[in-house]
Symmetry: C2
Subunit: 125 residues, 2 copies
C-alpha cells in the first residue's frame, strides 16, 4: 500500500452494545463533547495523546519523544488529565502517564480519515 496514496481510512468504533441506535443528543451532551473535542483540538496535545497511547510513559520520556519543552508537555498533560483521557501513576520521582480511554484513538483516526477524505473531495472538481 502506498504511503497516504488514496482514501484508505477505516476505523471500527462499534464499542458497545445496541449498535446502530442513533443516540439523541441532549444539550448536556453538547457541553461534554465540546469539552472533549477541545482536548483534541491542538496538534501538540494529540501527539502527546498518541504517545501515551502506545504505553505508560514518564514525562521526560514524552518530552523526548514529542520534542516539546518540559513545561509545555506538563501543561498539556494537565489538560489531558482534566478531560479524563489520561491517568497517572506515581513511581518514585517518575510520574507515569497512560491513556485512560483507548477508544479515543479510534475517534482520532476517524477524524483523520474524514479530514483526509474531505480534503481529497475538495480537490476533485
Amino acid at each position: 500500500m502506498e504511503k497516504k496514496a488514496g482514501v484508505k481510512v477505516s476505523v471500527n468504533l462499534d464499542f458497545a452494545e445496541n449498535a446502530g441506535e442513533a443516540e439523541k443528543l441532549l444539550d448536556e451532551d453538547f457541553q461534554r463533547v465540546a469539552f472533549l473535542a477541545k482536548s483534541l483540538s491542538d496538534a501538540n496535545r494529540l501527539r502527546i495523546l498518541v504517545c501515551v497511547g502506545k504505553g505508560k510513559k514518564s514525562v521526560s520520556a514524552i518530552v523526548e519523544e514529542v520534542g516539546l519543552s518540559q513545561p509545555l508537555v506538563s501543561h498539556h498533560l494537565k489538560e489531558l488529565k482534566r478531560s479524563l483521557l489520561v491517568r497517572i501513576e506515581r513511581n518514585g520521582p517518575f510520574i507515569y502517564h497512560e491513556l485512560a480511554e483507548a477508544r479515543i484513538l479510534d475517534i482520532v483516526r476517524a477524524l483523520s480519515g474524514v479530514a483526509e477524505e474531505m480534503l481529497a473531495a475538495r480537490k476533485t472538481f
Copy 2:
C-alpha cells in the same frame, strides 16, 4: 430504555474498506485532526452542526432552531464551512446549509459516549 440511565452508547463508525487496520498517524494528520476537532469544540457550533445534519436549512431557520443571534450563527457557519463540514447552496435570498459529511455525527456521538462513560467511571469508586 431510561433517559440517560446507564451506559448505552454505541456507534458504528466502520465507514470504509479494510476495517481494523490501525492507520499510522503522521504529523500532517495531527494538524488536520486538531483543525477538525476545533470545529467540534464549541457547544453552540455542535448544536448548529446537528441542526443542519437533520436537513438542509436556511440561516434564519437555524437561528430560530438553536436560539442564537443571527450574527453568531453566521459566524459559526462560516467556521463550519471553513472546516468543510458544511456546504451551502443558494436559492434566492436564502442560503441553505447542509452537513457535508454525515459521518461526523457518528464521531460526535462516539465522543458523547466516551465522555459519558468516563464521567460515570469517575464517580464509581
